[in-house]
Symmetry: none
């Protein structure tokens, strides 16, 4: 079971949720299972007053914070998990069933400085491909496949309730804390630097299929980097960039 | 995991549900987790047309049956389980947490002729004392108690989703195989290339403490790389090396 302190290090991030009732329902589920930190990524101001669907939800909604982009909303989190309805989407990320994913989130929270973000996409489309590139892995609630029928997709408020129930419930065998991992903002900085290096070194031109922000972003997040490792990668990449640019200038000056 | 046949022997009974949206939400959760049999106990005709809140819910709602009393609704069931929000109610019945209750429901369904009824009460008051007398035992979703705050109570649609998820969920966690990781020879090649890049880009000169074969070797091995990722890192590093050396030669030739 998660401790009170561990629950405080979990945040729920709603990306482009359209229906205020659903936002209210997610807030209520958070209250019910003891989670407080709600973050909202939307390109328009969220009508919170319409989301106050339950007394229980008010405390959580009152503390909700709005962000302009996923990268900002998850910047302080060392594990970012995207939820998906499964179905036919091609998974470029490891996809885990909720029960297994819940166990991994627990494991991650054993390390006292780790924060976890749990992302939910819009009701209609879920998380976009670009939004998913910010995730370390994805998680799905196993649903029932009916022959020939369309794949079920859960209501946002219900999906959040099921995920938070599972997170609150999972009992982990006592395990040692794993290594401290780098927060998303470091990984994003490395992603940007690596993108520059790929560009400047002409890697992008030679291997266009291996390029693109999303690909590099996922690539960096698969590495499970500790903060010092992320710093070292950045150091190496920065140095290579510097060297390439210096030599280039020399060449041009002569 | 419940078999298809076992799922058909579970029915959800809504007693005095007042909000058609909640009835629709329960139907949708049933569809999502593979349960078909919805029974409704109400002293007034249920406005099903207003309950059609989701495409997924329609098939379940279309087959719903109405009953005048709990006794009739559960007549063919050998196990009747009442759900409750817990809190301060005096429990005249054994009260079980959802995970334990779900296990007992599974056990009950092992016997091929058993049917199970899962009762949910009205949004405001839950199941009455009288209604609970029809139950063999009661089940509650464990929620988070905040000191001094009122006991949380779940939204009906969310509570049904959580209960049905727990019933449908695999009882024995099945460990999935982890990802295939890159062989040592790839990691070693990357280590050597990275060493060259550190040298050529003058990273080594600037950060002597971060250099040395052993350090880079451990650094590369901490990343848990899959083969394709190792190949991609090598590609990027090789390209940066090529670029630095090319520019250098250009400089010298001029």
């Amino acid at each position: 079971m998660l401790t009170d302190e561990q629950r405080k290090r979990v945040c729920v991030v709603l990306v482009r949720a359209r229906n205020p009732n659903n936002i209210g329902a997610v807030a209520r589920a958070m209250y019910d299972f003891g989670f407080d930190e709600l973050r909202i990524v939307n390109d328009y101001p969220v009508p919170f007053e319409r989301a106050r669907s339950a007394i229980d939800a008010e405390a959580v909604l009152a503390g909700a914070r709005e962000f302009a982009a996923v990268a900002e909303a998850v910047a302080d989190c060392s594990l970012v998990v995207g939820t998906t309805a499964g179905g036919k989407r091609v998974h470029e990320h490891p996809l885990r069933e909720l029960a297994e994913g819940g166990g991994l989130v627990h494991e991650h929270l054993m390390q006292a400085e780790h924060r976890v973000a749990l992302l939910f996409g819009s009701e209609k489309t879920g998380l976009s491909r670009e939004e998913l590139t910010h995730c370390h892995w994805t998680m799905t609630i196993p649903m029932f496949d009916r022959d020939g029928a369309r794949h079920p997709s859960m209501n946002l408020g219900q999906a959040a309730a099921v995920c938070l129930y599972e997170l609150a419930r999972t009992t982990m065998p006592v395990a040692a804390a794993g290594p401290l991992l780098a927060p998303a903002e470091d990984l994003e900085r490395l992603t940007v630097l690596l993108g520059e290096l790929a560009e400047v070194s002409e890697y992008t031109r030679r291997h266009p299929a291996n390029s693109g922000d999303g690909l590099l972003r996922r690539f960096v997040r698969r590495m499970q980097m500790e903060p010092a490792d992320a710093a070292m990668w950045m150091g190496i990449v920065r140095q290579a960039l510097w060297k390439i640019r210096t030599e280039k200038t020399d060449t041009q000056n002569k």
